[in-house]
Symmetry: C3
Subunit: 320 residues, 3 copies
């Protein structure tokens, strides 16, 4: 069931559609020159805002375009519009930037070369290269925070971190996987949004929707037959938003001499909505341990940074 009580389509479902579109266009591009057949695997999704909710019965228009290629990766821009089929009204739902890497169909550990695209203007290539370098740096950084584990709390107080933290497990089946036998990035993101949504609802006990997702890095592939544990905990609350950190751990418990490992981590931001769709105030998160206080401050930093960026963009847009 892809919708919550009020009838909005979950952010995770939209992320899954975006990823499918991105995987198709980049796999097609990487196979366009003949050569060794390959499948494009999702490496990273840039931060994306959900600008307006999509409702049941609306049709999603997804368009994808390749905007940059490095030697081994493809940048794809995906736009989602929701169309109310009965009124014809269209709205931008969100825009996302995804990075893919072509893996050989014969040898999944071999990264192939990407055929270069043609740019209309030289600046497009330079800007793309800048984005490429920036995301590469960020990928390295986020590998650091990958050791964290969420433990269950007995009898937590309302509005503490332990009160709303949640996790779910999923056995990876064939319909979750690409031709290479690895989980589709979109499937993972849908499950992450599901857990984040449960955390947010447990905290504020109201109807909630995904407002944005911070950059998501896919550090490691997840193979068919793994059990994945998706865990979420609240890190920060502003007056009207909640930030939830989500971890995905893969346990290749059959046929592999490997330990459980951290495959993905990301921050989701949720808002609480009244039945009329108006944003509601959110109860403040009560932090108890030093780690929780530190994460709250870090979340506040991300929140203020995003707010500042958005204001700068609006001012830029307002200039002649």
């Amino acid at each position: 069931d892809d919708a919550n009580v009020v009838g909005n389509v979950h952010g995770g479902t939209i992320l899954k559609m975006i990823e499918e579109a991105g995987a198709i266009i980049s796999t097609r591009h990487c196979n366009s020159q003949g050569g060794e057949p390959c499948v494009a695997a999702l490496a990273r999704v840039e931060r994306t805002d959900f600008l307006s909710p999509m409702c049941i019965g609306e049709v999603a228009n997804v368009s994808a375009e390749i905007t940059y290629t490095s030697r081994h990766s493809v940048e794809v821009q995906v736009n989602v519009m929701s169309e109310n089929i009965l009124t014809g009204a269209k709205k931008v739902t969100n825009k996302a930037t995804l990075w893919y890497v072509p893996l050989s169909l014969k040898n999944v550990n071999k990264v192939l070369e990407v055929p270069p695209i043609q740019y209309v203007r030289k600046e497009q290539e330079d800007e793309g290269k800048k984005r490429y370098e920036e995301q590469k740096l960020d990928r390295l950084e986020t590998k650091q925070r990958n050791g964290d584990v969420i433990f269950p709390i007995i009898n937590p107080e309302p509005h503490t971190v332990g009160y709303s933290q949640s996790s779910l497990i999923h056995l990876v089946g064939p319909s979750d996987c690409t031709l290479l036998g690895f989980v589709h990035g979109g499937v993972t993101m849908k499950l992450m949004d599901e857990v984040a949504g449960i955390v947010a609802a447990r905290h504020c006990k109201t109807n909630i929707v995904t407002a944005s997702v911070d950059a998501i890095n896919f550090h490691e592939k997840i193979k068919k037959g793994c059990v994945i544990t998706i865990s979420g905990r609240m890190t920060f609350t502003s007056n009207k938003s909640m930030e939830i950190e989500v971890f995905v751990d893969a346990d290749p418990f059959v046929d592999e001499p490997r330990e459980r490992y951290r495959a993905v981590s990301a921050f989701f931001t949720y808002v609480s909505l009244s039945k009329e769709g108006k944003p509601l105030p959110v109860p403040q998160l009560l932090t108890e341990t030093e780690d929780e206080k530190r994460r709250f401050e870090e979340g506040k930093g991300r929140y203020l940074q995003t707010k500042a960026k958005r204001q700068a963009q609006m001012q830029q847009a307002a200039q002649p």
Copy 2:
């Protein structure tokens, strides 16, 4: 989600059930004599009318019977009844005739021989043979119109062809496929009905239901890992019905040295319904190009021919 807002089960879902039943009975028949194991692949569905809508919560009773066998093909008759479990009321939803061809499980390009069935009366065999020859002829003819492509139109006027035309893409996954690794015919038909329904709703902005599907020929198999594009455009409107042409194109973009190709095409007829389930008048399709006018006239031809056939059948049924 298999139902539209008013609560009817989509025609495409019913087509999928029909095809599953047909595939099972014909695969079982073709394997009944021992010999080389095979899977029956859908080659064609004859024209079918949706006599009454099926609603959510009703139980579908599907029964299938083999009615003719040629050397390399099987004709199956499938009947669908809907049963309201709480009142016990039953209605015929539709009857369909499907043609299957047995493909070897070891070599998918090898068509096997079909064990002959026994006929109660000699005329049954003769009538079956006549139907076999007719469909063979029709299959050849429809291969002609297979070159057509649908291009997007910028800012189309309401009720023109470009205004409602739609397409969707789908990455073929393992759960879409038979044991041979090819898409189930029923999965394709469900997607076709989905696109046709979007075209119809965009045109008339009301609740719509599938009234009938013209004969569908499956020209080419579609392999796991392909991307399929399903496109639909309106070809004809009568006072109370809309005809939509649907194309399915397969793009084997990984691991295959092949161009995108046309796999299936068909005509779907939709009607517009009020909230009380009464048929509503349909806005007339505005044709602009010569091609659109020609297709409108061809659609009118099919419409009048079907109408004449149905009247002939009713008169025949009314005779003593």
Copy 3:
């Protein structure tokens, strides 16, 4: 669609969740010592009561624990709690005991040895051993009643056995199967509950819910590509409950020199509920043949035995 009209989640969906949790924990345990990789296959589910219905929008908390290991089998205890995320209220939905057997990933016919677990107290091991012996005996007994077949009845009278009996067929696809290519026990149980629910609704024409499931034995594995027929018939009614016997027959109709065989059989108990969720009286089952009368008496025996056990447990619980 996982819920009936009133909004309860079907018992079959809960059984599927339970089985997935049991399969994960026992597969993980059996692979924990290294050695030959294996997948745990469901052999049996002990009788389970559905203590309170789970509703849409509630979150299910599933916890699983290994409670006994014999040389070749694992006993798992799974508890399901439903949590209303908006109020925070939690209720026990049901508790189930499942038995798994580890099958080699390389050779599916080879049963591997189970690493022994540590018991806190010696009595735990002894009690587990007793449960192990009991279920082993019961498995042997139920193999007897496996020859029965359900034939369709023409124009049955209301409330007879033939009136409500039902069956459905399902083609086993990849998403139904484990890594070994055999149907997940949970998928089978979900289909069984679906058929039992149709039988119950046809009999009493009201909203119905699963009250309990008797022990289910999985006699034979079901392979990908099989067609399974799930048939149900009512065997007994008390004032407020209905017992339905469900059979699962597998037909490996492609690529296997095997006859159709009985894979699973079980008894489901349903109750009829008013719109307010109160139990309603159930129309008495009309038995016609000698077999039907005998099965009614056997069902009555099971009903009275369960009732007596429950009363004994309640008295025990009430003692100081």
